[in-house]
């Protein structure tokens, strides 16, 4: 029997996030993702050169609407992003921190862009891990904050997002000026994913500094669309499409914890079992599927979900 080995003409880009002192930053570690030459975890065709990276979310406000299961691991630090970041690094050991500047949003506090930049500085001081910075998904407010935040993190080689087809110019200019990587989001559509990358590149930004977020649907809530779009992007990239050859990002936690099955209390759905087991597993199962579709960078909410996926990766990569 002759085993079918697939040889692809192209490889996925590698993207590095974070900068140590010798790279002009202050991080104690950096994270490099991508570089695959074949489909996920098929070691007999070529082991992935970099392990998928795992980030943990922190917010710039106290998330009172989070379920208890999700608040518990961070309780003492909620509302203080710097303390929260420090707690994550020390206790839960993610590869990166993802800072969400949600309070910029007019509906979530409408805080000043200057304050967002302050938060970025405080978080960078409180953790030595590489940083992902995420705006509030309100184009006007994000565009006020992006240049300030990018400047506040100059030299640290962050991943900042997100750029969309309608709103990419300010972020791209800011990331060009202060040398950060770009988190590019598209609405579960391979053509728009490609289009955003082209638009960003046309501004003179290096396409090898972009990460694709094809928009995550959680388990039970549209993950099959994300799964197939990721597979299609990865297949096109390995086949040589340079404008899709970026590493893939799964924004797992934010979406998984919207699922009723993740957050509902046991008293409301006794047949679903304990929420403290169920919620983190819902998030981890969402991540496990995206890993099979090609995800290189996963952002989590619950530290237990992150831990489970770290062990799961050992199992997939056969590291005892």
């Amino acid at each position: 029997m002759e085993t079918v080995i697939e040889k692809w003409p192209a490889a996925i880009n590698t993207v590095t996030i974070g900068a140590r002192e010798d790279g002009g930053g202050t991080r104690s570690s950096t994270v490099t993702i991508g570089g695959e030459t074949t489909l996920p975890f098929l070691a007999f065709e070529g082991a992935p050169p970099h392990r998928p990276a795992l980030a943990l979310d922190i917010l710039d406000y106290s998330p009172d609407d989070w379920p208890e299961t999700l608040r518990e691991p961070f309780r003492e630090a909620l509302g203080d992003p710097a303390e929260w970041a420090g707690l994550c690094q020390e206790k839960y050991r993610p590869d990166l921190i993802c800072l969400r500047l949600q309070s910029l949003h007019p509906d979530w506090g409408d805080t000043d862009p200057e304050r967002a930049a302050e938060t970025v500085r405080a978080v960078l001081a409180a953790t030595s891990l590489p940083l992902i910075i995420c705006g509030c998904d309100h184009p006007e407010k994000d565009n006020l904050a992006f240049p300030l935040c990018a400047a506040a993190a100059a030299g640290e080689n962050c991943l900042i997002g997100f750029a969309t087809e309608e709103n990419y110019k300010t972020l791209t200019a800011a990331c060009l000026a202060d040398n950060h990587a770009i988190w590019a989001q598209s609405p579960i559509d391979i053509n728009i994913a490609k289009q955003v990358n082209i638009l960003i590149s046309e501004m003179g930004f290096d396409p090898k500094r972009i990460v694709i977020d094809p928009n995550t649907g959680a388990l039970g809530y549209g993950i099959e669309y994300t799964y197939s779009i990721m597979e299609r992007i990865r297949l096109a990239a390995l086949d040589g499409d340079k404008m899709l050859a970026m590493p893939l990002l799964g924004d797992v936690g934010a979406d998984a914890w919207r699922a009723k099955e993740a957050k509902a209390a046991e008293k409301d759905f006794p047949e679903w079992g304990e929420e403290n087991l169920r919620g983190p597993l819902w998030e981890a199962a969402t991540a496990a599927l995206l890993l099979q579709a090609g995800a290189d960078l996963l952002i989590f909410r619950h530290p237990e979900a992150l831990r489970k996926i770290r062990d799961h990766l050992d199992n997939l990569l056969d590291i005892a």
Binding site: M1, E2, T3, V4, F41, L42, A43, F44, D65, D107, I188, G217, L219, G220, Y221, G222, I223, E224, Y225, Y227, S228, E231, R232, L235, R258, E261, E271, W272, G273, E274, L277, R278, L281, W282, A284, A285, A288, L289, Q292, K308, I309, D311, H312, N315, L316, L317, D318
Partner: protein, 452 residues
Amino acid sequence: MALTGLDIYKLLPKTNCGDCGSPTCLAFAMKLASKQAELQSCPHASEEATAALGAASQPPIRLVTIGAGDNRVEIGNETVLFRHQETFYHQTALAVRVREDDPEREARLEKIAGLRFTRVGEEIAVDLAALEEESGDPEKFAAFALRAGELSGLPAVLISSSLPCLGAALEKIGKSRPLICPRSPEKIEDFAALAREHSCPLAVDGGSVEKTAELSLRAREAGAEDLVLLAGSGSLKEKLADLTVIRRQALRKQFRPLGYPTIAFTNPDADPEAQALEAAVLIAKYAGVVVTDLIRPEYILPLLTVRQNIYTDPQKPIQVEPKLYPVGTPDRNSPLLVTTNFSLTYFTVEGEIEASRIGAYLLVVDTEGTSVLTAWAADKFNAASISRALNDSGAADLLDHRNLILPGYVAVLSGKVEEESGWTVEVGPREASGIPKFLKTAYRGGTGKDQS
């Protein structure tokens, strides 16, 4: 690989006798290629032609049935490596293992029977009870198999490498077509004979893909037709490699010895969370049967959801049940929005309403799973269907106002909906992403501001 009309033509007598009903052999070949005719219609077909066409008409991965009656499951007959290329057809059968000597075995079997849930209008449940023989006592194992069927109501996977134990169990429950699963490459001919005698499917476990291919050939020669291939017994990395290689060899090379569905076990020594994540991967990556030791709903519900999502036909969008959904905690003055029952449309709209942190009701109209614009163009999302859904939903009893928010893309329907339903229509944003802003700033209904 399916033969083309010309390939088939070369195998025909080329006499154009017309005895098959087609005017020429070429015309007949074309009909055969498109499966509009059968070779038996040609009285002059050679044995060579019959053999070649017979092999080509077999699916590259055999369809195997486990169980009999209403709760039987079918696995295999898959045609693609990636679901977007077509769809995955026969969803992974989920089996929960019960060990013969487990003192809790009866409670466990009853629990398995209760592992069923309803999601998006579909019942999802554990399919099989995997019964592991431990006693070496044929009578005892047979009694266990019989009892397991009564308690779980599910078809069985019989895990045993003891011929006498399997034989005794099959005497009792063979008619319910359990999957025979010896965990050893030894005596394959004997197991195959047992499978043939009881017309049951048989799992073959060679320890490696190459050896499993050899075993499947031998089992087939010994008369077992419905085979299931055991994929990987080591790490998840090995299982994923085996499942991928088997699927590729079957589909890309039409390699018959691997043209069967697969079975994979999660690592019984791993903690439950690790087993659950392993099972999720096995479901997504081609396993026909997954056997786990998991029993708690916290672990089983996500796995059944993984299966439901991965096996959704991308060509037929999944639908949500058309009805009235509360989002957040709405009250009698909360806004009422309407959308279609295409799942992605629903999830997007529901998500945006939730993000607005304003409690609301969302009325979902049955548009056969199409999005707002598609449904409008196909006349499935119109004044009549919206008004009917509104009346059937009971929204009038839950709300003090009579305002309905229509998606901006179908603003043109406003007048007719008002006429037909008697409700006041407000035109909402075109894209769901505009909903939070709309609800906070533009929406006038429900507050008494615009009740004239």
